[in-house]
């Protein structure tokens, strides 16, 4: 007879009393939030200074509360109020908390019993179930918490644990990725829609999708009509979190039924099945509650002094530029952040996290930067997060720029803003950059000597700023459609329009732009470190020069899938470059090159620099041309040799190639002056002339050495 565990026989599965007509019993303090237990739901919420808390229960179809259950005083353990409630309908119940502060509130307390607060630990929120659907603005609580079923058939799925040095990151907005009518998916603009495009991602060769915020947020925050276009502007990007444990219902095809949890898990499972990791863009630097003029959703009414960095007078510090700053190094908030990340890592099988404005995470409670910030230390050493990638956007809006100095504990990687700036400037032909470019190409050892090149996330573009197509089509930003007189968005774009500002038919200009995009792709994917592109760069997606499209839920920001046909050449080129990188481990080496012959073949150094003459790079201030050769050995002892030379000059040059050992010959992978798709790895043809190569203006040459046939 096999052992069984009948859930109905636990001695704590029975009520002990009634409150407001509901059968209840003292709850379990852990886990925090609402948990389905045998026979009932366990509610646990903490507030350090609250004097009393009530659970307010709603039904899905009724705007007014159905019942209000004050937590009996004897159900409190420390600052935690816990109660198990029986007889609830798990599909239909919605809930919140009414929190009563002390009669004498301290400076910084903002208790307001008139408000019903959402549970900071809710795994599912209701209020914006369908993207863009007009909210009921008369309802005082715009957000309520719901229950989520956490059981899910993962069918053996696990985080992929791909080596960091092998990652190719593709940053995308969930809705923007498939919302355009041309996407052809069954559920445009959703997690399910993204699943339908997995074959495209797999074919492109990316192995990590970085999703812009999917934690529940309010697309109607700061929503307004554009004075320029007359269309509605939304909080489209979502960098303003309402729920740190709940996925955005409005991104789910099944959000109207409350099934977004399952839909997200299914998306993760399908991506994993296809060898693609999932990285989440997470925003712990501030919340959607804003400052004292913003909405009270949860934290402010539960424990304002704990959750936010406050001035001595009780106002909100604003290091995020958005109104408030999350008090991340407070012990309670630290625990909250850790709980959230552990939840996503374990329950959703998430492979990594990218922290928005991460410099805020190392500010102390008074805002001053800490040398040993407890939160970052805790995240770096947490056992649940141990195998997750941790990536920091290592600056904030308060003047703290920490690229290269972010407290890393040997775990964190960073968005390398210095790579972006140097690479962009070199691409457009600026002077005095070859030295810095060399450092960036080799993985930025000046910044990351303690961790290796995989600490460096290299990128030309991301959601912030121009797309790749716009980087080569515009000198300046054009954000008029945002309705802020083009004052918003960065001014230092380091872009060049290739001869004409914006849309043009001039074939000469268009040819330069195409070539420049190919140059950028080659430079990015032949650099050591982890390459990141933003969705659409591979097909020249344009935002018409808007470098701050945060508020556009329209064709300006949506991925136009007709570009995969119109720009099939660039797509094929990008695919080939990604495949080339995958075929050459030397480009993905996890250690910095030494310049010596260790680990190479034929006595060649692992990294060497070149100019128009081999072994003679031109480091002078007037130089606009740099070549580099990576030389390694594959696991089975074969030569792994890649030579790249980027001529950012407007004149062509005759390049003298390095001499190879007797048995090897140079084979051509790409010359970016040629728009044709490069060959598949292993199919490259030998150069007729092994000594010199005439390289066009603004072009990049990529060669690999293989034995002569």
């Amino acid at each position: 007879m096999t052992a069984t565990f009948p859930t109905g026989d636990r001695i704590d599965a029975f009520p002990t009393r009634h409150v407001s007509g509901y059968a209840v019993r003292p709850g379990r303090t852990m886990p925090f939030g609402a948990t389905i237990v045998p026979g009932g739901v366990n509610f646990s919420v903490y507030s350090n200074a609250a004097q009393a808390v009530s659970l307010v229960i709603y039904d899905r179809d009724k705007p007014e509360p159905v019942a209000e259950l004050p937590f009996p005083v004897e159900f409190r353990v420390g600052g935690v109020w816990a109660m198990t409630v029986f007889g609830l309908d798990y599909d239909r119940v919605e809930y919140g908390y009414r929190v009563f502060g002390p009669v004498e509130q301290q400076t910084g307390d903002r208790f307001d019993p008139a408000k019903v607060l959402a549970d900071p630990y809710s795994k599912s929120l209701t209020g914006r179930d369908v993207w863009g659907a007009d909210p009921d603005w008369d309802r005082p609580q715009q957000w309520l918490s719901r229950l989520a079923f956490d059981d899910f058939d993962w069918d053996g799925d696990q985080p992929l644990r791909l080596p960091s040095s092998d990652l190719v990151i593709y940053e995308t907005h969930v809705r923007g990725f498939t919302r355009h009518p041309s996407s052809g998916v069954g559920s445009p603009g959703t997690y399910a829609g993204l699943v339908e495009k997995i074959p495209y991602l797999k074919d492109l060769g990316v192995n990590c999708v970085e999703l812009m915020p999917i934690f529940e947020f309010d697309e109607f925050e700061n929503s307004r009509i554009s004075p320029v276009t007359g269309g509605r502007l939304y909080n489209y990007w979502g960098y303003s979190t309402v729920g740190f444990f709940a996925p955005k219902a409005g991104y789910a095809a099944t959000g109207r039924y409350g099934m977004q949890v399952d839909e997200v898990k299914n998306m993760v499972r399908e991506l994993h099945r296809n060898g693609i990791e999932v990285m989440l863009d997470v925003v712990f630097n501030h919340t959607a509650e804003g400052n004292e003029h913003g909405p009270t959703i949860s934290f402010r009414g539960l424990d304002n002094r704990t959750y936010y960095m406050l001035t001595p007078e009780g106002y909100y510090y604003n290091f995020s530029g958005t109104g408030n700053t999350f008090n991340c190094n407070h012990p309670i908030v630290r625990g909250f952040v850790l709980d959230s990340l552990r939840y996503w890592a374990s329950e959703y099988h998430i492979d990594g996290f990218r922290f928005d404005l991460a410099a805020i995470l190392d500010r102390g409670q008074d805002g001053a930067p800490l040398p040993n910030p407890p939160l970052l230390e805790a995240l770096a050493f947490d056992p649940v997060l141990r195998d997750c990638k941790l990536v920091a956007e290592a600056w904030d809006a308060g003047g703290l720029y920490e690229v290269g100095s972010f407290p890393s504990y040997h775990r964190w990687s960073e968005w390398n803003g210095k790579y972006r700036d140097t690479a962009r400037r070199f691409l457009k032909g600026d002077l005095g950059l070859v030295g810095d470019l060399a450092t960036r190409i080799s993985g930025s050892p000046d910044l990351y000597s303690w961790r290796g090149p995989q600490a460096s996330i290299n990128f030309f573009t991301c959601h912030d700023g121009f797309t790749l197509a716009d980087l080569v089509s515009y000198d300046g930003k054009h954000n008029e459609a945002n309705g802020e007189n083009n004052n918003d968005g960065a001014n230092d774009n380091n872009s060049w329009n290739s001869g004409w500002e914006g849309p043009t038919d001039d074939p000469g200009v268009l040819e330069v732009r195409d070539r420049q995009m190919r140059n950028a792709m080659v430079l990015l994917f032949s650099s050591q470190g982890i390459p990141l592109i933003v969705a659409g760069d591979e097909v020249a997606r344009t935002q018409l020069g808007n470098n701050n499209a945060y508020c556009h839920d329209d064709e300006l920001s949506w991925f136009d899938w007709s570009l995969t046909d119109r720009n099939a050449d660039l797509l094929a080129f990008t695919r080939a470059v990604i495949a080339f990188r995958a075929a050459h481990p030397v480009l993905r080496a996890p250690m910095f090159a030494t310049g010596y012959e260790r680990g190479t073949t034929h006595g060649y150094p692992d990294l060497s620099w070149h100019g128009v003459h081999p072994w003679q790079p031109d480091w002078s201030p007037g130089s606009r041309l740099l070549g580099w050769m990576r030389w390694g050995r594959t696991a089975d002892g074969k030569d792994d040799v890649v030579y790249v030379l980027h001529n950012a000059h407007w004149e062509q040059h005759l390049i003298e190639l390095p001499e190879l050992p007797e048995e090897l010959r140079w084979h051509l992978f790409a010359d970016t002056s040629d728009p044709a798709a490069p060959p598949a790895p292993g199919q490259e043809q030998p150069l007729a002339d092994q000594r010199v190569y005439p390289l066009q203006d603004r072009s990049t040459l990529v060669l690999t050495a293989r034995p002569s046939e």
Partner: protein, 106 residues
């Protein structure tokens, strides 16, 4: 919420007709009927959903529950699934446990 279930056995096929709403409140009834089936005597479990109006999150899990209870050797076939129910099953990934058919085979 109303939910009805009637069970017919035809040789090694068990046919369950589900009607009404399958949600968290009514799921236990469905689970109990699935547990009553002896998987060693069955090749196919047919769930006739022609009269099933709605399936919630709580109800969806019944499909996986049935798959786990019946085991590898029993095919679970959904018949007469309306477009809403079918869509939610596919969008949340619960279709992996089951097959779909247009009508009950004779």
């Amino acid at each position: 919420m109303s939910f009805d279930i009637s069970v017919t056995v035809r040789g090694r096929t068990v046919i369950m007709e589900l009607a009404g709403d399958l949600d968290a409140a009514t799921a236990p009834t469905f689970h109990q009927r699935v547990e009553d089936v002896d998987r060693n005597e069955v090749d196919q479990l047919v769930l006739d959903m022609t009269n099933l109006a709605y399936m919630s999150s709580g109800g969806l899990r019944g499909l996986v529950f049935a798959k786990q209870k019946m085991g590898e050797n029993v095919e679970i076939v959904l018949v007469g699934v309306n477009s809403t129910v079918g869509e939610t099953i596919r969008l949340t990934g619960f279709q992996h446990s089951v097959s779909f058919a247009d009508r009950v085979a004779e």
